[in-house]
């Protein structure tokens, strides 16, 4: 069922924001195809009536009170920034208004 194409890998790379090279497209297409073939057997066992498990521990309602806690100083927050300006994180021009 898997059989993943080079074009699909290119699409995945765009979704994942990875500027993969042409060589990588070929390599990853082959590898992802191989991996997907080996993992698609998950479809063999799980019947419709089996509920999915998303969390290892069945906790519910873990909440905190609405009380302020000290955060980071602006200097600490911006210290790791690749670029900052005017106390803000500076990024190159953005193409689109929304993702």
């Amino acid at each position: 069922m898997a059989a993943i194409s080079r074009e699909e890998v290119a699409h995945l790379a765009r979704l994942a924001r990875l500027a993969v090279t042409e060589d990588e497209l070929d390599t990853f297409a082959g590898q992802l195809d191989q991996i997907l073939h080996s993992v698609e057997r998950v479809g063999e066992v799980a019947a419709d009536d089996i509920p999915p498990t998303s969390h290892a521990v069945p906790l519910t309602n873990v909440m905190r009170p609405d009380e302020p806690r000290p955060g980071l100083s602006r200097e600490a927050a911006l210290a790791g920034a690749p670029a900052a300006e005017d106390h803000r994180f500076r990024v190159p021009r953005i193409l689109s208004e929304e993702a």
Binding site: R14, M63, P65, D66, G71, V91, R93, E98, A99
Partner: protein
């Protein structure tokens, strides 16, 4: 302009039915963010309300704000929703620079509130809006675009990001498709957003300041041929942040889409933006990659399963909601339904309520807000609430009228002074020197002068044609430059002429 648009709209509606969908984002007024203990004050210095969690630092983990959940449940209850016995957060995955984790912690197929309804009144007609869901999520940071002419993305050389807003709790309220509103569609959209705003304010869960973005709407509009059952392709105009803009967006999109379809074109499913200055919506960049948010249950947060007893307690504690309050006040005020509608349409309900609370009669309060003040608001192109006059001012003004110190004309003069920022009504009255002349000696002299100057009229009045006294009253008002009480003047004239 408006009448032309209405004409065009009528033309559109002869061929198409409009389908609306509204997604209203309400920023909650919690003290801290949805998933961390950072404060949420509006207008703080950039990047001063952030921590490892809301900055998306590696390793940081979210913890749910209990008041955020409580507020979402209250909103759901007020909208007649069912409250989920069990629900989860989900990650909505997409890249954007003002979203620190490059996923938004939201809810997907398991919202905390679902399946409600809200009635809104438009021109005496009740429209029931189905509520699909209300779910919890977090806000993004804010980008400032630098180097362009207009501060917009287009043309900017770079952008600067402030994460203070990132992680502030939002409740997104999503309607079911709204059909059959016809020419009222723009007004229905506006009334719905106004109703949501009023409800969340009444609940005390949000300051509901549209001007600060704490209530904003994504407006979905599509057209389909009259009689069709399958909806047309919709556009989504994002982040519309005033009631007026909501209304204009719907109207504009209806006209724009109809023109395209009429020309044999097709509507592109896209997000658009409303430009306040031009009144137009503008399309975004066409994306090369179809949106695929890859939602999955948020593994860092555990499910929320509100205790039914807690939900019932919140239900019992709900404050009186705007619709119920409106019905009650209509009775208390003794106003007609058309008067109430006019109040609704003008957005004057709370202003009038506050004015009445300050001691003014409901009818007088209504007259001020819907008459003189609405005229000022229209001229200035602003909402009533944005005028520089408060309900307390109006109440004070009316009490000056009731006390005989101002007549209607003088009161309007005083009001324009208040609107101009000259002070309270009493202060304006004093500084402008416009108090009613009540000195009877001076008035009597003015009356006698008027009688002497208009012997024919005086004779008519003497002979019983009391209605003719109006001319004399006008003459007296002229000589006193309006600073007399017309009723007093009239009585004085009649008594001087012995007409009774």
């Amino acid at each position: 302009m408006t009448s032309t648009a209405t004409g065009e709209l009528a033309d559109v509606l002869s061929r198409y039915e409009v389908v609306l969908g509204l997604e209203v984002h309400v920023e909650l007024g919690t003290r801290t963010k949805m998933f961390c203990g950072c404060t949420t004050e509006f207008g703080a210095e950039p990047n001063t309300q952030i921590c490892p969690v809301c900055l998306g630092l590696p390793g940081a983990l979210p913890v749910v704000n209990a008041v955020g959940v409580e507020s979402a449940i209250k909103i759901g209850l007020a909208l007649g929703c069912d409250i989920a016995e069990w629900c989860r957060f989900a990650r909505k995955n997409y890249f954007y620079p003002d979203m620190p984790k490059n996923f938004q912690t939201s809810q997907y197929d398991e919202p905390i509130c679902f399946d409600g309804a809200l009635d809104v009144e438009v021109d005496g007609r009740t429209v029931t809006i189905g509520i699909e869901r209300a779910h919890m999520e977090e806000d993004t940071g804010k980008s400032t675009h630098v180097g362009g002419a207009t501060g917009r993305i287009h043309g900017a050389t770079h952008s600067l990001v402030d994460f203070n807003r990132a992680g502030i709790p939002l409740v997104e309220i999503v309607t079911k498709p709204i059909v059959g509103t016809g020419a009222d569609a723009p007004a229905v959209a506006r009334a719905y957003v106004a109703a949501i705003r009023d409800i969340v304010r009444a609940l005390g869960v949000s300051d509901a300041r549209m001007d600060q973005g704490s209530v904003r709407a994504d407006v979905n509009v599509s057209l389909m041929p009259v009689g069709a059952t399958e909806f047309g392709t919709r556009t989504e105009t994002k982040n519309v942040n005033s009631l007026r803009s909501v209304e204009r967006t719907v109207r504009y999109e209806m006209l724009r889409q109809a023109a395209i379809i009429d020309d044999g074109g097709v509507i592109v499913q896209e997000t658009r933006h409303f430009n306040e200055a031009t009144g137009e919506t503008v399309g975004g960049r066409v994306k090369e990659t179809a949106t695929d948010y890859r939602y999955f249950p948020e593994p860092d947060l555990v499910p929320v399963a509100p205790d039914p007893a807690w939900v019932e307690k919140l239900r019992a504690e709900l404050p009186e909601l705007p619709a119920a309050r409106r019905a009650r006040l209509r009775t208390e005020w003794g106003l007609s339904e058309p008067d109430m509608q006019a109040i609704d349409n003008a957005g004057a309900f709370e202003l009038i309520e506050a004015t009445v609370s300050a001691g003014t009669g409901a009818e007088s309060a209504r007259k001020w807000w819907l008459g003189e003040l609405s005229r000022h608001a229209n001229e200035a192109g602003v909402e009533l609430a944005e005028l520089a006059v408060t309900p307390a001012h109006v109440a004070e003004l009316q009490s000056l009228v009731d006390g005989g110190r101002l007549n209607d004309k003088l009161a309007r003069t005083v009001l324009s002074g208040v609107l101009a920022g000259e002070g309270t009504p009493t202060e304006v009255m004093t500084t402008r020197g416009v108090e009613v002349v009540s000195d009877t000696g001076a008035l009597t002299a003015a009356v006698d002068e008027a009688i002497a100057a208009n012997p024919d009229v005086a004779e008519k009045v003497r002979s019983g044609k009391v209605a003719a006294a109006g001319v004399l009253v006008g003459a007296v008002m002229k000589t006193t430059r309006g600073q007399a009480d017309a009723k007093t003047v009239r009585e004085l004239i009649i008594s001087r002429l012995g007409a009774e």
